[in-house]
Subunit: 331 residues, 2 copies
């Protein structure tokens, strides 16, 4: 496999991205990593060529799309940005996987514009794996498609189901649909139509609507939602966890500063057990190829994990399985 | 003021509801509490008539709408339910305030069907006050209107602004709009149109889109959202807080059971500082009267607070101010 990595994407690029690529080298088989970014700088960070020269290929890109830039406009203007060059490599058949911790919107747009959709897929969706105390929870879509149709959400359920089985090794994964109440009649027209579609699909183990209150209790193996709600859930969860731990630290410091040292290991263990980087980056499901979107704050270890999981995904035949499932749905 | 209280609504009804009403008696002026539910049972719970007979009036209601019943259907079937009788009292001019910890949907539907909308209001919305470390944050709508139009969200901003000034005593409150990115161009068509409307209204201190990640950092005094997203935010926040504290307890117990006793007061202080019952129940804004929806798990203290805040709201002239603001908007 050839994995194209955007060396300029994310808060700690290029240093941590390049370091992550180097860390991944030992786990590669015949695979190659293509690092996209300013050649001289990347070479400098890679260091001794003996270590990497047979496994890493540098593809020069002189521009960078910022985290806050408008995706489509930035892609149009910055033809030589690392994200644009990365997507072009995939389009021209030089890369099997593309991976970036940069501007998510630009990454999704580049993949959608440059890579073909999988046969039968109406709209790609971003899938994330949430760590919970009861095991990994798959959430899809978290922002690629903010005004989906019921058929899109139905396809997300199928794609996530294949992912959960093939990558997370969940047998017969259950599927839930995010709504504001468990009853079938609760929610918008989109939710009600989607609920009916999922219920009517015998290939899915649909358990009905699930409420966000129970998200961390893992109400199902897979939870489906529109990209607007999914993005809110993803970001709110992250922000809440940060805020709550911050409150607790603050209170400990005020009330029992001498105990703060004992609280740290507890928090560290919780963080370690809920380390989402373990599951790699978030795949954009439904394109003909493998596109992985990493968190903006990815460090070398997160990038290394994302590379490893992306390889697993590219080798697992997920896309073939999805195309087959969607085809049988049409029949 | 006459405050009609649904004695049968909520997880701890009727005991805790009746106890809350009794606790509120000392703080009443000329006000009266109307307790709605099975007369004999309520009388029994009220105890010595000397204590309450000049301040509490019992209105008999023989049926109860369950927490999970379909609101509109239940209201149609159970004409003598406490919620139906409560709304009827308001309709007939016998109550200034209605208050329930029961089925939220039934409460909203009863208020909408029985009480008139405020002049100029297109759709009522539920407002909640979120406690954060930086002070109270107002969120509206959290579930009354799951497919709003931009004009509805605009009205929620105005109603919430009046509430923040009159009840929370916030001078010149800032208003934000929940979206999946801060930039004006981020979000659904609903969000983009609403953003433009809020920006064009000189009576509002609109600060633009806010991301859910920063919710607990209080990005603005008021955050506006559609009822579907708002309900997700409300429920997810509640569930997350519970889950995270549960994780921490679990880890402490595993790692340092001897320190659990020191952790408890820290958590208790955080809970006390973030006690949403301090701000009373959630008002349904935009109806001609005062309708307060309490959390299903309300205890006597929560009910007492809700009664007190509802009185404050009913006396503050909020509805008159809202009607005036909406009228000037039309001109």
């Amino acid at each position: 496999m050839r994995i194209a990595v955007d060396a300029m994407g994310g808060d700690y690029a290029p240093e941590q991205i390049v370091a992550g690529a180097l860390d991944a080298l030992d786990s590669l088989q015949d695979d190659k990593i293509l690092l996209i970014g300013p050649e001289a700088r990347i070479k400098e960070l890679l260091g001794d060529p003996e270590v990497w020269q047979n496994k890493i290929i540098i593809h020069n890109a002189t521009e960078v799309i910022g985290m806050d830039e408008s995706p489509v406009e930035a892609l149009r203007r910055k033809r030589d940005s690392s994200i644009a060059v990365m997507a072009k490599l995939a389009k021209e058949g030089h890369a099997d996987v593309i991976l970036s911790a940069g501007n998510t919107g630009a990454c999704v747009a580049a993949a959608q514009m440059r890579m073909r959709p999988l046969p039968g897929v109406e709209r790609p969706g971003i899938l994330v794996v949430f760590p919970t105390i009861h095991g990994p929870l798959v959430l899809c879509d978290v922002g690629a498609n903010i005004t989906p149709k019921p058929s899109h959400l139905h396809q997300y359920a199928i794609m996530a189901e294949v992912y959960a089985r093939k990558i997370l090794k969940v047998e017969n994964p259950t599927v839930g649909l995010i709504s504001i109440g468990q009853e079938d009649a609760k929610g918008t027209d989109l939710i009600k139509s989607t609920n009916q579609r999922l219920k009517d699909d015998p290939s899915l183990r649909f358990i009905g609507n699930v409420e966000p209150r129970r998200m961390l209790e893992k109400p199902a193996d897979i939870v489906i939602c529109d990209g607007f709600a999914g993005n809110i859930i993803l970001k709110l969860t992250e922000g809440m966890a940060e805020s709550i731990f911050k409150y607790i630290f603050h209170e400990f410091k005020q009330q029992k500063p001498e105990l703060l040292q004992h609280f740290m290991p507890v928090v560290e263990k919780i963080y370690a057990e809920h380390d989402y980087t373990e599951y790699g980056g978030a795949p954009l499901m439904g394109i003909d190829g493998t596109c992985i979107i990493c968190h903006g704050n990815s460090d070398a270890s997160a990038i290394k994990n994302a590379i490893m999981v992306s390889l697993k995904q590219a080798r697992a035949g997920i896309n073939e399985e999805i195309a087959k499932r969607l085809k049988s749905l049409e029949e």
